[in-house]
Symmetry: C2
């Protein structure tokens, strides 16, 4: 089955499709980012995010979706933008009947590295060792999405969901 991990954002949404089979190592099927230009209106950007998401959902029909919770520690305006994009994503998945699990950044870091306060580099280093992936800094959001998808997979296996 396919799992979808999403790190939502208005400018950049990271996504990852992970294929899992019982007692086999998960396979990172596809990952990347949905980027929207700052020059477009809010509506145009949200339309782009939804259209790209729909393409992914129709290609893989993931059975479960994991999405990062909004972190508003730093900048409320950014958190608000993220929430607009996140609303569109959650609605689209829910309308298709896909179960959605929400994870906060600390849960994801803890699951991947064993340390809830690990930084992005540590998370990416572990994903790199585990799956032979290399991340440029522009792929931070895609790496986060992979981490979320793996976190979702573990939660499903341990029946937390």
């Amino acid at each position: 089955m396919y799992l979808l991990g999403i790190d939502p954002g208005l400018a950049t949404t990271g996504f990852a499709i992970v294929r899992t089979e019982a007692s086999r190592k998960p396979h990172i099927e596809q990952y990347g980012i949905i980027k929207t230009p700052a020059g477009l209106s809010l509506g145009e950007r949200l339309v782009m995010i939804r259209a790209d998401l729909v393409e992914l959902l129709e290609k893989y029909t993931p059975e479960h979706v994991g999405i990062e919770e909004v972190f508003f520690g730093k900048n409320v305006t950014t958190a608000m933008h993220v929430s607009h994009a996140r609303g569109v994503i959650v609605e689209e998945c829910a309308r298709r009947g896909m179960p959605i699990a929400e994870f906060n950044p600390m849960q994801v870091k803890l699951r991947i590295t064993g340390d809830g306060r690990a930084d992005k580099k540590q998370v990416q280093s572990i994903l790199g060792i585990e799956f032979g992936l290399q991340f440029a800094s522009k792929h931070d959001d895609a790496a986060d999405a992979i981490a979320i998808a793996l976190c979702l997979m573990h939660s499903l296996r341990t029946s937390n969901l």
Copy 2:
């Protein structure tokens, strides 16, 4: 032509359809609220909001949409919830090619009452006198949506949009 005013929220979204014709008094065609139960998941609530919005859009095909900006002075969690709902609403209207104008609460109050710091009661009292409407307190969001639609109408007439 029809204008749609929206006061977005996850629990309660106010809406108003105003019909305008050149040199005639605007007519409040329909107004109300989209309510979603707190017991449902975020996804289920967003699906409900979108479904009810789509019904309105298909019934009236409004030529312009006015929507309130998110006010995050009081509660960041509420602002985040509003932003999820607002993202779904803005995306749906934008995908249908409807121009969307955003207004902040101060602009709306200033336009309706002449005072940007007017309270809800003052706004509702003017709407009551102008259109013979009476609002129970549970209709606050519907009243706000009417005020936004009228604000949009004035902006269109004075070519600010």
